[in-house]
Amino acid sequence: MKLKKIAMLGMTLALSIGALAACGSGSKGGGESQKAADSANGSGDSNEKIKIRLLTRMAGTSDIVKIYNGIIDEFKAKHPEVEIIDDSQGDESAFNNILSTDMASGKMANIYRVQGVANLQKYIDNGFLLDVTPYLEADPEWGKSFAPGALSYYSVPGKEGTYAIPMESGLIGVYYHEDILKEAGVEKFPETWDELLAAIDKLNANGVTPIALGESSNYMGGHLHDQIFYKWLGTEAAKELGNRSKKWTDPDVVQTLQYIKDLIDAKAFDPNAVGMQDDVAMTAFQNGEAAMVVTGPWMIGRFTDPEKTPVHEDIKLAKFPYFKEKPEYKNYDMQVISPYMINGKLEGKELELTIELVKMLTSKEAAKKYAEEAQFIMPIEDVDIDESKVTPLFLESMKLGATSEGIGVDVFDFDELTSMQDRTRNSIMSLFTGSSAEEAAAEIQAEIDSAK
């Protein structure tokens, strides 16, 4: 009996210690026992694999991601001693959750991306970002290949250096079905806002949804507002909102929201747009059920694929119409600029290998492959693209993108309040559910005021 009791006590203790040991082993792979196992397998400390973790938006099954994965595989084959952990997420919300967890724990991925530039100063101060200038200078062939505008986007006021490698760029414009516009009596794509409203009337009269928009994925309304904002106020105004020298409730800013309200009143969107997801709206455009859609170059691959877009042949691209009253902002455009950022705390061999991987991902060869096989634009100059391998839509996108005199990404990109992405997009969405432009503007401004 006594023996049984002792045995049970022993088992209880073992379980407790086991639980503690399991908790204490952490993420390094099992502590001493793991090391012993490694040693037995002939992979001691000296041969321990260097881990390179990536946190990008390159996830899914698209052609773009296939090329990205191909480059990663190439790197793996070249460096079998390196373990690649790719935590990349296609979903924006999932991506943001991982990024904020990394920032809170201080365990940043080797290669990652941050949306916007307003908070970069804070990240630099915390050592999260590497100044890539020395590496760009050390390898001029690679370093000088980037479009200067895209590279300078990641220069931070008050800090010397460049804090990201741009990996994606391109005009966010209006993709439209030329034939559908012509059938409705719109012979030429509207160049001005008034012409756009007239075209919307004609399209409605012809029974076609003028603009495809799935506001349940509220970035679509956000991108539409970005277009209107830059055409009405220019790109500097976004920076002024960010540095608080301008308010969302200023009449000229409210007007940008009012223009969205005007589009809603003009029945520019599907009546169900507010509850529709982006993919549903895109499918409507791809099937020729909607005449126009505001989107970026990442959709070119799909728009030119006959299987995915039955009416792909008549799709054209144009800049968002400008306002006659503001001709000075005619070529102030929204463009996408996405980066690869490098963890500022890396050192030694790990840093060296991470830089090498970034170079592979942003080389001229990669840019050529991305362009020719996935219609994806990287901000790299003098890439020898075989024009027979790319579509006219892709070439048009490159051509139009090069004419931008002012470039802005999302308006909230210049705001250091991280809640502004949600706040602005949600308030823009509220315009679709009955709020006035003034109410939406007040709601956004209240977010800023309450954070003071």
Binding site: A19, N96, N97, N126, N272, S430, S450
Partner: protein
């Protein structure tokens, strides 16, 4: 009752409790303590940055936030409708199933099925039903009732109510099974005695079944209150708290504040408020339960 006479016996018991205690401390008490601590500091979510003690500012800020007030009102609606509908409907279904009419096993399974599915799957399924071009609106349109086809999860009048309705639907089977278990232990003698006294089935239901089920019903209500306060996955799958925060619950808002906006202090304060609401709900309902037992 075993009396613990010796220190050795007490030590033995302590050792047996130790594993569970350790797990509870590591995974419950320490995170709660951390949450309480973070609710009193301001931190921008960056490792290595200074944590500033701000007293109750995060709590004040939460209560000044219109979104939080809206989320509390949504939570209240969720709790009230769940309590008002879950237990009574589950009780009626349990009594019907317990009557063992023809095909009762099939109905029991049908009623219980939603409980088996993960809430996220249920959320997605109902999202596809209620989306603007979803099954419900298609059905209404095909029936010539197009005027009733509205964006259910976007419309201010219907968005939260739709989610509450789905939550009620999803939970009924669970409470039905609990009540069914309670029904099976009611002695048959009581019904026989009532029958001899001339009671009809309705009288037996109100004078035998309900009183005998009282502890079970109160337990269902307690669990329902706590469960409704903690709903997260259903809302996250159906609307993510949108449009424009219309369907936010404190749980979804907490995630947004902490992880989307890097307001860790406010997010933690909301977490602690949720915990306090659960605590008040538990203590309040336990008091009810004990009172019920004394009456019995």
């Amino acid at each position: 009752m075993i009396k613990l006479k010796t220190t050795k016996a007490k030590f033995t018991i302590f050792l047996f409790i130790l594993p569970a205690l350790l797990l509870y401390t590591i995974f419950q008490l320490i995170p709660i303590a951390g949450g309480i601590y973070f609710s009193f500091v301001e931190w921008d979510g960056l490792a290595g940055t200074k944590l500033t003690f701000v007293g109750f500012d995060n709590y004040i800020s939460a209560f000044h936030n219109k979104q939080f007030i809206l989320s509390l009102s949504n939570m209240a609606r969720m709790v009230v409708f769940s309590v008002l509908l879950h237990t009574p409907i589950a009780l009626l279904l349990a009594v019907a199933v317990n009557a063992k009419l023809k095909g009762y096993r099939l109905f029991k399974t049908i009623f219980f099925v939603p409980t088996v599915f993960p809430m996220t799957a249920i959320g997605l399924m109902w999202y596809f039903v209620f989306m603007p071009t979803g099954a419900l609106n298609t059905l209404l349109t095909n029936m010539g009732l197009k005027q009733f086809a509205i964006p259910w999860l976007v419309n201010k009048a219907t968005a939260m109510n739709t989610i509450v309705g789905v939550n009620v639907w999803a939970g009924i089977g669970y409470y039905m099974v609990i009540i069914l278990a309670g029904l099976t232990v009611i002695p048959k003698d009581l019904y026989e005695a009532a029958s001899i006294d001339g009671a009809n089935p309705v009288q037996m239901f109100f004078n035998v079944t309900i009183p005998m089920l009282k502890p079970t019903l109160i337990m269902c209500i307690v669990m329902d209150i706590i469960g409704s306060v903690k709903v997260f996955d259903l809302v996250y799958a159906m609307t993510s708290g949108g449009p424009n925060g219309l369907t936010n619950l404190p749980t979804t808002l907490m995630i947004s504040e902490a992880f989307k906006y890097s307001h860790y202090g406010v997010g933690s304060a909301i977490g602690i408020i949720i915990m306090l609401i659960c605590l008040v709900g538990t203590v309040g309902s336990n008091t009810l339960l004990n009172r019920g037992r004394r009456v019995d």
